[in-house]
Structures are given as structure tokens and as C-alpha cells.
């Protein structure tokens, strides 16, 4: 079972890990920890899925009015 200290470190670095902002050493340390710690793995899964929901809000069907406007712009370019 993972030690408490390892879990505290993992929780502190989790968001940067998910952001791809950890250096190589910290990232592999985190990956090893997540392979062995169910609690941190569940936390990472949850944060990752919540993050995916946020990312999905960056896609929305463009209205026809915008498509027409862009086509008009392209013709003038």
C-alpha cells in the first residue's frame, strides 16, 4: 500500500501531472504511484473526467449565420 507521504505528494502534483507540466522524473514517479495507489488513481480519474467535460464545452455547432459570414470573408481575402 502506498505511504501517506507519497499520497500527499501525488495529490499536490496531480493537476500539474494532468496538465502535462511535470518534468520527466516527477511524471514517471507519479505514474508509478498511480499504478499502485487505488485512492490516488480514483482521484486522478475523477479529475481527468471532470477536465474532459470542461474541454468538451469548447466545441459548439457554428450557426449558419457565422458560416455565411466566414464564406463572405473568404471571398474577399
Amino acid at each position: 500500500m502506498a505511504s501517506q507521504i507519497e499520497c500527499e505528494e501525488a495529490v499536490a502534483k496531480l493537476l500539474e501531472f494532468l496538465d502535462g507540466e511535470l518534468d520527466e522524473g516527477d511524471r514517471s514517479h507519479m505514474e508509478r504511484h498511480l499504478e499502485t495507489c487505488r485512492g490516488c488513481f480514483s482521484r486522478a480519474e475523477f479529475e481527468g473526467r471532470l477536465r474532459a467535460l470542461v474541454a468538451e464545452t469548447g466545441t459548439a455547432p457554428a450557426p449558419e449565420s457565422l458560416r455565411l459570414r466566414v464564406r463572405g470573408l473568404m471571398e474577399r481575402f
Binding site: L15, D19, L34, E47, R49, A55, A62, L66, V70, L73
Partner: protein, 226 residues
């Protein structure tokens, strides 16, 4: 295992999407007609994401349409500066974001420093709050929450964030910017991006927690009072 987002994800996305019209070929040597066709094809391919991101930035459809149109006009005028069309996607989203950010500089902008001490978030993460012992009676509380959250719940929570925090979250979590890229775009140090992101995410999770209460997924919600 959960996969990190950000630059790595953007690279994977770029590789996945490299079958688009750009095909990763450099712009140099193309004729004007070829450049126009490539530009049009890429814009068409990315249109829903450009518009969706513009809505997250502006928070309303009409302003989002104006933003996309202005960003595309800027992008076209700068297309000669884009050496590698494989970078088109990253490049066009940076222009979209920079166009928005530059339009907001001035009196309308609320400096993050004015928000210090306001909009304090609860110290606990959403995961920790969902894992209070009494909620574990219900099995897997985070799964229940994620299953019941709707896109509009997420957008409402995001749109309700104070601007400096919202922008940091949108740039990193929606657009996949690295901290360094967000820092450059927002003209603030990387440490400031990090702290705005942290606070923005915590406020976002607070809003989602309140939504969980409305949905009856906490002891204070309707189900919890039964």
C-alpha cells in the same frame, strides 16, 4: 491510467488531425490559390471548435461570431508568417485568444488583484467533498455526479467564474495551452497563471458542488433530506 492533457494532448490531437487539408506541408512555395484552399479547408474543419471556444471566451453567441470573424481576418493577413501548416490549429487558436484578450485590455478589464479576498473557494476539492464518509454510503458518489452533470451545468459553472480565473481555466483546460503559452498570451508570469488556474478550478468545483446539492447528490440536497 489518466492521461495528462496540455501540450502532449495537443500534439496527439495535431497528429490525429494531420489528415486534414493542411497535411503538415509547409506554406512556402504554395500559390495564392493553394493557400486560400488550405486556409478555407482548415477553417471549415475547425469551425465548431473555433466557435465553441469563442463562446467560452465571450460568454455569448453574437460576440463569439464577431470574435471568430475578426480572428480569421487577422489570421489570413498573417498566414505568410506560418511556416508549417501542421501548426495551423495551434496557431489559429492562439490568434483567436489573442484577439479576445487584446480587445479586453483597458478600462473594462477587472484586474485579478482586485479580486483578492473575494470569491473565496472552499478549501476542499470536489473529490474530497464527495468522499465524505456519509456520502460513501451511496457507493461511488463521483460516478453518480459525473453521470448526472450536463454540459449546461459545466458551462454555467465556467461562465460564472471571475474573468481572470475564467480565462486561465479556458486557456489551459479548454484550449490545451501550456502554462508558458497561457502566460505569454495573458502577459502575466507563469506563477500567476498557476495561481489563477488553481483558484479558478477550485471556484469551478465549488459551483459544481452547489449543482450537486441541487441534484440531490449531497446530504443537503433534496434526496439527502428525505
Amino acid at each position: 491510467m489518466p492521461q495528462p492533457r496540455g501540450r502532449d494532448a495537443a500534439r496527439r490531437l495535431a497528429r490525429r488531425d494531420s489528415g486534414g487539408a493542411a497535411g503538415g506541408r509547409p506554406t512556402g512555395g504554395r500559390t495564392g490559390d493553394e493557400r486560400r484552399r488550405v486556409f478555407q479547408a482548415e477553417v471549415e474543419r475547425l469551425m465548431d471548435r473555433l466557435y465553441g471556444t469563442a463562446i467560452r471566451l465571450t460568454r455569448n453567441g453574437a460576440d463569439a461570431e464577431d470574435l471568430v470573424a475578426e480572428a480569421l481576418t487577422r489570421a489570413w493577413s498573417r498566414l505568410d508568417g506560418l511556416e508549417d501548416l501542421q501548426a495551423f490549429e495551434k496557431w489559429i487558436f492562439r490568434i483567436l485568444t489573442n484577439t479576445f484578450v487584446s480587445s479586453r485590455r483597458g478600462p473594462r478589464e477587472t484586474p485579478a488583484s482586485e479580486l483578492e479576498g473575494e470569491e473565496e473557494a472552499d478549501g476542499s476539492s470536489l473529490f474530497d467533498r464527495l468522499h465524505e464518509p456519509f456520502l460513501l454510503w451511496w457507493g461511488n458518489p463521483e460516478q453518480r455526479l459525473l453521470d448526472r452533470l450536463l454540459c449546461e451545468d459545466v458551462t454555467r459553472a465556467l461562465d460564472g467564474l471571475p474573468d481572470p480565473f475564467r480565462l486561465a481555466v479556458v486557456l489551459v483546460d479548454v484550449e490545451g495551452f501550456s502554462y508558458a503559452e497561457a502566460s505569454e498570451t495573458l502577459s502575466v508570469p507563469v506563477g500567476t497563471v498557476r495561481s489563477r488556474l488553481s483558484r479558478g478550478r477550485r471556484l469551478f468545483q465549488d459551483a459544481i458542488w452547489h449543482r450537486a446539492e441541487e441534484l440531490g447528490l449531497t446530504p443537503q440536497g433534496p434526496q439527502g433530506q428525505e
